[in-house]
C-alpha cells in the first residue's frame, strides 16, 4: 500500500504551473527521503494549451496525469479519490507552493492518531504573497508600510474555545488539506452551482465534515505558500458571482449565549 497519494490539480494556471510543479516535486522527494511511499499524480480539468504543454514537458516525473472535463474543482477532486492508491490523500492547487515538510509532518501527525479518529489536517500557516510587493520592497527586516504579503495561522477545531459557528460566516481552513482516504470517500465535494448562487466546495466540505464530528487539526511547522493575484483568483471569482456555501439542510448555527 502506498502511504500518500499527492494530487495536483490544474486547469488554466499557465506558467504558474512551473513553480507549483517544482514545489510539489521537492515535497515528494523530501517525503520519499523520509521513508514514505508517495504516489504523485496530476488532475487536469479542462486544461488550456499552455498548461498542458508545461505539464507534458516538466511533469514526466509524475506517476500519472488524468485529463478530465468537469469544469469544477470539487468534482475533479472527487474523481481523483478512487484512482488513488495511497492510504492518505492530499490535494494541491496548481498555482501554489508548499513548505517541503508538509507531507512528512502531516503524515506523522495523522498516523499518531487513534485508528478511528481520522482527522483532517491543515498546515499551521499560510504565507500569502503578492508579486506586486516588488513595488513595495524592503531591503531590511522592516516591511514596507504598504506591503501586502502576510502570514495566516490556521486554528484547529480542537483549539480551546473554538467557535464552530464562525464557520458559517467565514471559511477557516484552506483547501489543500491532508486526510485518510476514507474521509474523502465518505465526504465528497459538492459541485459549484452558479445557477443557484451556491458553491465554494472546500468551505461547504469543511462545514459538512466538522458538523459530522470530523476534527480539523493543524500540523505544526508546516506552511503552504499561496499566490495572491490582483484579479482572477478563485476567491475573487466566488465573490463576483455572489456565491454562498452549500449548507446541509440540517445544519444551523447554535444561537444564544
Amino acid at each position: 500500500m502506498i502511504d500518500i497519494t499527492v494530487y495536483i490539480v490544474f486547469h488554466s494556471e499557465g506558467v504558474l504551473a512551473i513553480p507549483a510543479l517544482s514545489s510539489m516535486h521537492r515535497l515528494v522527494e523530501v517525503a520519499k527521503i523520509a521513508g514514505l511511499s508517495v504516489e504523485s499524480k496530476a488532475l487536469m480539468d479542462n486544461p488550456d494549451t499552455q498548461t498542458s504543454a508545461i505539464i507534458e514537458k516538466r511533469g514526466n516525473w509524475l506517476d500519472s496525469v488524468e485529463i478530465l472535463s468537469y469544469g469544477d474543482l470539487g468534482l475533479t477532486r472527487n474523481a481523483g479519490v478512487p484512482l488513488a492508491k495511497g492510504t492518505y490523500i492530499t490535494f494541491l492547487d496548481g498555482d501554489d507552493l508548499w513548505g517541503s515538510q508538509w507531507l512528512v509532518l502531516a503524515h506523522a501527525a495523522a498516523i499518531q492518531e487513534p485508528a478511528n479518529a481520522k482527522s483532517i489536517w491543515h498546515p499551521e500557516s499560510l504565507f500569502y504573497f503578492y508579486y506586486d510587493d516588488f513595488d513595495r520592497h524592503s531591503i531590511n527586516r522592516i516591511p514596507h508600510s504598504h506591503a501586502k504579503s502576510f502570514h495566516f495561522f490556521h486554528k484547529g477545531s480542537d483549539t480551546p474555545n473554538f467557535d464552530r459557528n464562525v464557520l458559517f460566516l467565514d471559511n477557516l481552513w484552506s483547501a489543500n488539506c491532508f486526510a485518510h482516504r476514507e474521509i474523502y470517500e465518505k465526504y465528497t465535494y459538492k459541485a459549484v452551482d452558479k445557477s443557484l448562487g451556491l458553491g465554494i466546495e472546500d468551505w461547504a466540505w469543511n462545514i459538512k465534515t466538522l458538523w459530522d464530528g470530523v476534527e480539523h487539526k493543524v500540523c505544526h511547522d508546516t506552511v503552504h505558500i499561496i499566490r495572491q493575484k490582483d484579479t482572477g483568483s478563485l476567491g475573487q471569482s466566488n465573490t463576483a458571482n455572489g456565491l454562498l456555501p452549500h449548507l446541509p439542510d440540517n445544519i444551523f448555527p447554535v444561537v444564544g449565549k
Binding site: P19, S22, S23, R26, L97, W98, G99, S100, Q101, E124, S125, F127, F129, Y130, Y131, D132, D133, F134, H137, S138, I139, N140, R141, I142, P143, H144, A147, K148, S149, F150, H151, F152, F153, K155, T159, P160, N161, D163, N165, V166, L169, D170, L172, L196, G197, L198, H220, D221, V223, I225, R227, T239, G242, L244, L247, F252, P253, V255, G256, K257
Partner: protein
C-alpha cells in the same frame, strides 16, 4: 519666574524627556539664552516608583520579545534623543500606540476582543495589556525561503522581512475583517423564520411601514421574527420605544447589527452569510442600503431558501436625492420582489424593469389607523358649523418634514399670494426657515406633532400638501380621519387612494410660482364650497382610505403577498 517654572517642571519631567528636550533644542540654545538657563537647571529626577509584582511580570515578558532595533528604526525621535527603547516604550510608546516589534501586537487599555488563546494578558501600572506574539517558527521561515528557488515572487516584500510581515489568525475575525463573528450568533435568542432588515428606528414613513408589517406578521403567523437594524446602534436610537409608530417593534427581538458586528458591519458578504446560515423563509429589506447591497450581491443564493422583498417607495424627482427606488430595483429584481406602497411606483417599476424575470413587483398599501365613526362625525359637524361663517379668518394646515423636497418653496409662494390668511405648519425642521423662505408673518410654526390622530385640526380650513414627490404619504391618510378638506399635490400614490371627489388635486407646474397659483386656485375652490360639498368630500376621503388602508384590508394583503 524661571525658578517657578522649573519647580513645576520638576514635578512633571522625566530624565529621559529632559534629555530629549536638550537634544532637540540644542541648535537654538545659543540664540535663545532663556532656553539654555532652563535646560541647565538641575532638575530633580522623577521619583521612581517601585514596580508592582504584576508590572515586573509584564516587564520580564516584554524584555524577551521587545525588538530594540525595530523600535529605533521605526521611531527616529527616540533614536535622535538617545533614549533607551524598552524604557521609552514602557513609559510612553505603549500608550502612544507605537509598535514594540514586528512580531508582536498588543492592545493597551480596552482589551475587549482579546479572549482567544493567542493573547496573553498582563497589567502595567494598573492598566490591562494584551500581547500576541507571531508564532512563526524558524523552521517555517526556512521552508518559505527555500521555495524562493522556484519562484522569487515569494520574496517580493523582501527576503529580510519575511518574518516581520503582518500576521493574522483564522479565528480572529475582528482583526481580519473587523467583525466579531462569534458575537453575532450569540446575540440571537432563537433562529428566526422572518427577518426584517431596516436601517433606523426613528420617525419616518419607511419605519412605520416596517413596523406595521411586523405587527401584522406577528398577528397572523407564529413564525419567530427578527428585526435587524443596520445603521442605528442601540445608543444612537436611544428612546425609540417612545415613538408610537414603532410600538410593534417593542415586542420583537431587535438585533443592532453595528453593535454585534463591530466596525466591519457594512460588509454585505457578512450579512449575506448570516442570513444564509439562518435560512429564514421571509426576508424583508426595508430601505437598508446594506440589505440592498446584500440582496444585489448574494440574492441568488439567499433566494434558494427565502422569499425576499425589497421595499421601494419612490424614484424621487428624476432621481434627485438618490433614492434607492432609482438605483437598486434592476439589481435585485431577479431574486427579490419589489414591494411598494403605492400604485404609481408599482407602475413605474413595471414600466422600467417589468421584463426582468423574478418574483416581480407587488403593491402593499400602507396601513392607517382609522378613527371611530362618532369622533369623525363630531369633527365633521364642528367643521360644517365653522363653514357657516364665510368671512372668518382662513387658516390652512401644512404637516410634513420641513425640507425642500416637501415643497416648502411652494408653500412660501402660496403664503405670499394669500397674505391675509395664515398657514400653520408642523413637523421636524431640516435646515432653516430662512433658507426655505418660510420666515413670513402669515406662516406660523407649531412644532412637531406627537400624535397626529389625537391632534385637533378643527379650526383649520384645509390640509395643504405641497410635496414634490412621494411614495404613499401617510400624513394624507391620517388627515382623512380629521374630516378636513384635502388639497394635495398630485404625487406618488395619492391617486391610488383618493379620487377627485375626495381631494382637490394640484399638478406641479413648470415653476414654483405657477404651482403656487394652482394651489391658491384650489384653496379658493375650498373656500367657495358649501357645507354639503365639504361633507361629501371629507366622507369620500375617509371611505376611500378605509377601503384601501384599513387593518383588515392590510392583513388580507399581507396574507396573500407573503403566503402566510
Amino acid at each position: 519666574m524661571l525658578m517657578q517654572i522649573n519647580h513645576k517642571v520638576n514635578l512633571l519631567i522625566s530624565n529621559a524627556t529632559l534629555r530629549y528636550f536638550k537634544n532637540a533644542l540644542s541648535p537654538f540654545l545659543n540664540r535663545i539664552p532663556v532656553l539654555k538657563s532652563f535646560l541647565s537647571y538641575p532638575f530633580k529626577k522623577l521619583p521612581t516608583k517601585a514596580l508592582s509584582e504584576e508590572d515586573k511580570i509584564f516587564k520580564t515578558f516584554v524584555e524577551k520579545i521587545f525588538d530594540h532595533e525595530f523600535y529605533l528604526i521605526c521611531n527616529s525621535d527616540v533614536k535622535k534623543a538617545g533614549l533607551e527603547p524598552l524604557e521609552h516604550w514602557l513609559n510612553y510608546g505603549m500608550t502612544e500606540g507605537r509598535a514594540m516589534s514586528a512580531r508582536a501586537e498588543y492592545i493597551h487599555g480596552s482589551t475587549d476582543h482579546t479572549n482567544g488563546p493567542d493573547w496573553q494578558h498582563f497589567s502595567w501600572k494598573g492598566s490591562p495589556v494584551a500581547i500576541r506574539v507571531n508564532p512563526l517558527s524558524q523552521r517555517v521561515i526556512a521552508q518559505i525561503l527555500e521555495q524562493a528557488e522556484f519562484d522569487l515572487g515569494i520574496l517580493a516584500a523582501g527576503a529580510e522581512t519575511i518574518e516581520s510581515l503582518p500576521f493574522y489568525f483564522a479565528t480572529d475575525s475582528v482583526a481580519r475583517s473587523h467583525v466579531d463573528m462569534s458575537a453575532i450568533f450569540k446575540s440571537l435568542p432563537f433562529i428566526p423564520s422572518i427577518i426584517i432588515v431596516t436601517p433606523f428606528l426613528c420617525t419616518g414613513g419607511a419605519e412605520k411601514y416596517a413596523a406595521d408589517l411586523v405587527q401584522t406578521f406577528s398577528q397572523i403567523s407564529s413564525d419567530p421574527i427578527l428585526v435587524i437594524v443596520t445603521e442605528d446602534t442601540a445608543q444612537t436610537c436611544q428612546g425609540w420605544q417612545s415613538l408610537s409608530i414603532l410600538d410593534p417593534f417593542k415586542d420583537q427581538n431587535i438585533l443592532f447589527w453595528r453593535d454585534v458586528c463591530g466596525p466591519g458591519y457594512a460588509n454585505p458578504c457578512i450579512l449575506a452569510r448570516f442570513l444564509h446560515a439562518i435560512r429564514p423563509r421571509i426576508i424583508v429589506i426595508n430601505n437598508s442600503r446594506l440589505g440592498l447591497d446584500t440582496t444585489a450581491g448574494y440574492g441568488l443564493g439567499l433566494s434558494q431558501y427565502a422569499k425576499i422583498f425589497c421595499t421601494f417607495f419612490s424614484v424621487g424627482l428624476n432621481g434627485l436625492g438618490a433614492p434607492y427606488g432609482a438605483r437598486y430595483p434592476h439589481k435585485i429584481l431577479q431574486y427579490s420582489a419589489a414591494l411598494t406602497d403605492n400604485p404609481r411606483m408599482a407602475d413605474r417599476l413595471r414600466d422600467m424593469w417589468g421584463d426582468i424575470p423574478g418574483p416581480g413587483i407587488v403593491e402593499l398599501p400602507a396601513k392607517t389607523q382609522l378613527i371611530d365613526e362618532s369622533t369623525f362625525r363630531a369633527r365633521m359637524c364642528f367643521r360644517l358649523a365653522l363653514n357657516t361663517d364665510k368671512n372668518r379668518h382662513r387658516q390652512w394646515l401644512w404637516v410634513s418634514r420641513i425640507e425642500p423636497f416637501k415643497g416648502t418653496k411652494i408653500l412660501s409662494a402660496l403664503a405670499r399670494l394669500r397674505p391675509s390668511e395664515s398657514f400653520k405648519i408642523f413637523g421636524p425642521l431640516q435646515g432653516s426657515f430662512e433658507d426655505q423662505d418660510l420666515n413670513l408673518p402669515n406662516i406660523l410654526y407649531g412644532g412637531v406633532l406627537g400624535n397626529i390622530a389625537l391632534a385637533d385640526f378643527r379650526n383649520h380650513d384645509g390640509f395643504v400638501f405641497t410635496s414634490l414627490f412621494e411614495g404613499m404619504p401617510n400624513i394624507a391618510l391620517e388627515m382623512s380621519q380629521h374630516a378636513i378638506p384635502l388639497i394635495l399635490a398630485d404625487v406618488g400614490g395619492l391617486r391610488g387612494t383618493f379620487d377627485d371627489t375626495a381631494a382637490k388635486f394640484v399638478m406641479h407646474k413648470d415653476t414654483i410660482t405657477d404651482t403656487a397659483i394652482a394651489f391658491s386656485g384650489a384653496l379658493d375652490n375650498v373656500c367657495r364650497m358649501q357645507g354639503a360639498d365639504i361633507e361629501r368630500m371629507v366622507i369620500a376621503a375617509r371611505d376611500q382610505v378605509s377601503a384601501r388602508h384599513s387593518a383588515q384590508a392590510y392583513k388580507k394583503n399581507v396574507r396573500k403577498i407573503f403566503d402566510l
